[in-house]
């Protein structure tokens, strides 16, 4: 709590469900870099916690796995301040009380979006219990990591 963070990166997902772990995979690699002023968060309990995490930051990045039927490993990138997050990629249905789309909409309604908010969705293929991440998703994850590093530079 004592450190001041100007940038937040949140990786979402379940590490035991194959490609669903992609957000955590990227977050952990970013954490290893120990970038000053960058707070890396692995998973949140519910979507409203996302708002808490990007409050008072200069910019935030969210990364999650998606399953919209597009090509496996495809990277979707949205600027949440200028674009709608499409429901066909981040559906309103979620296993959580508040999903990413809900959190962005709620934050926009009460004026609590950060100056920059980038949302990444990586198309996954395998979600079964105990599965490993697929090679194509790992390749995509490494590409997303590069993009996130650029985002961080742009926020500064």
């Amino acid at each position: 709590m004592s450190e001041i963070y100007s940038i937040a990166v949140v990786g979402l997902g379940n590490e035991f469900r194959g490609d669903d772990a992609v957000g955590l995979y990227i977050a952990r690699r970013l954490k290893d870099k120990q970038m000053p002023g960058v707070r890396v968060i692995e998973g949140v309990s519910d979507g409203t916690t996302l708002i808490e995490n990007w409050q008072d930051t200069r910019g935030a990045v969210l990364i999650d796995c998606v399953s919209s039927g597009d090509q496996v490993g495809k990277i979707h990138r949205f600027d949440a301040l200028t674009e709608d997050i499409p429901e066909e990629i981040f559906p309103a249905y979620s296993t959580h009380a508040f999903n990413i789309t809900d959190a962005v909409r709620l934050a926009a309604t009460i004026g609590q979006l950060p100056p920059h908010l980038i949302v990444y969705g990586v198309e996954g293929a395998t979600f079964s219990t105990g599965a490993k991440m697929s090679d194509r998703v790992i390749t995509a994850a490494n590409r997303v990591l590069e993009l996130v590093l650029k985002d961080i530079e742009n926020f500064r």
Binding site: E42, S45, I51, A97, D102, R105, I110
Partner: protein, 429 residues
């Protein structure tokens, strides 16, 4: 309207997947089913063969909203087998961690899941358009609960710092002191929350409930106590299964529960409040009285006020613990396994959570049993629904369906720590 069926295929604003079915025939309620349709999760089965020290971490995974409850009930059960008594500052830290969970869970439910019902909004996003400051206050208040969880639990989700016998690492006094000013603000905000919820319109609904909760001689219950009720129950936790039985019903993947040879019962904030009003700090008692509550509250719609009163308690208790805190020399007390059976029960935000384990001399779990509060409340929720529909047959389909869902949300059911989508069908016969 002589015959009709109310069906909600997937309930909204609850944690997990549940369904509602109400059949009305000749202006009388013919059938009510609150169904839990989540597949069984087999935690009790895969705990078998694991080390007793793993139970707090494994069971914390059951719920993303109330993992601390699972950690506390499992740790206490294991400690009872090992004859390990966690006391002093370690015990206080456990209560502090639990306060964090109560604040986070109660505030999420009060403002973002339940308040839209009372204020007439489909969800919190629509409510936020007209009440932005209320939602901002909610998020700030919830964050303080989360900050406690992160500091003591070790990370944002599924805390990993609780172990049998205490913690892996305890905070310094300086680390905890950072929470004092935010918690002072939180206490004021929680008092405003009580005031706000007291202004909501409350439909009439009351039953002769048996309220079951922990009760402790010295404190408002969190981690320990005897299991008591307003109908004469007063037992050691080790007698839980001698007193309460679980029953399988066809329409739910979650077992129902009832007091043996008696009836179903109500667990949760209202039960705790009714059994322990005298143990609340004065600031919470005064807030409750000012909100129009007496020492006993029987209208489940008013559980939203009770949750707010318990949030006042949690903020007050967290401040008390931090202000007296002295960092313990050791973060845990060694727990040595032996062959035996142990029981743990703690007060999850939604009610009493019971764990029972049998471990062997090597500390390997031979048997596990977990009875969460939502499964215990299923039967009483169905009774509430039946009574509510009987009294409100005059309402429109839309309003009746909405308020039936609200009846379920009164209990903040945590069906699997996940949620939700609403698809609604009303079928007239």
């Amino acid at each position: 309207m002589r015959n009709k069926t109310i069906k909600v295929d997937l309930l909204a604003r609850v944690e997990g997947e549940g369904q509602l079915y109400v059949k009305i025939k000749n202006d009388a309620v013919a059938d009510v089913k609150f169904s839990i349709i989540e597949p069984p999760r087999f935690y009790e089965a895969f705990l078998r063969g694991r080390k007793f020290t793993e139970a707090p971490d494994i069971t914390a995974r059951i719920c993303g909203i109330c993992p601390v409850a699972y950690q506390m009930s499992s740790a206490h059960a294991m400690e009872s087998i090992c004859n390990t008594r966690v006391d002093g500052q370690l015990r206080e830290l456990r209560r502090l961690l639990y306060c964090g969970e109560w604040i986070e869970s109660h505030v999420l439910h009060i403002y973002l899941l339940h308040a839209p019902d009372f204020l007439g909004y489909e969800d919190a996003i629509r409510m936020a358009k007209d009440y932005p400051d209320v939602v901002k206050q909610a998020l700030q208040l919830k964050k303080i609960g989360n900050d406690i969880m992160v500091l003591l639990g070790g990370r944002e989700i599924h805390p990993i710092n609780v172990r049998v016998g205490g913690f892996y690492k305890v905070p310094t006094r300086k680390e905890l002191e950072q929470l004092i000013e935010p918690l002072k603000w939180a206490l004021e905000a929680s008092l405003k929350t009580v005031e706000l919820t007291a202004t909501f319109p409350f439909p009439e609904l009351e039953q002769d409930y048996e309220f079951v909760s922990l009760r402790h001689p010295d404190e408002y219950p969190l981690c320990e106590g005897r299991l008591v009720s307003n109908k004469g129950m007063d037992i050691e936790i080790s007698d839980f299964l001698n007193t309460i039985e679980e029953i399988h019903v066809k329409h739910s993947t979650s077992l129902h529960a009832r007091v043996k040879q008696r009836s179903d019962y109500h667990t949760g904030p209202m039960a705790r409040y009714n059994n322990n009003f005298d143990k609340l700090p004065k600031v919470a008692q005064d807030a409750a009285r000012k909100a129009g509550l007496t020492k006993v509250c029987r209208n489940p719609f008013k559980s939203i006020i009770v949750r707010a009163v318990e949030t006042v308690f949690a903020c007050h208790e967290a401040l008390r613990i931090i202000e007296q805190y002295k960092m313990p020399d050791k973060p845990y007390i060694e727990a040595k396994p032996r062959d035996g059976v142990g029981h743990g029960c703690s007060e999850a935000p939604r009610g009493s959570l019971y764990h029972r384990y049998h471990i062997d001399n090597n500390g390997v779990i031979k048997e596990a049993r977990i009875i969460p509060p939502t499964s215990q409340n299923q039967s009483i929720i169905e009774k509430d629904l039946r009574l509510f529909v009987e009294k409100n047959l005059h309402l429109s389909d839309e309003k009746l369906t909405w308020q039936c869902e609200q009846v379920i949300r009164n209990y903040d059911p945590c069906i699997s720590c996940s949620c939700h989508f609403l698809k609604l069908n009303i079928v007239r016969e």
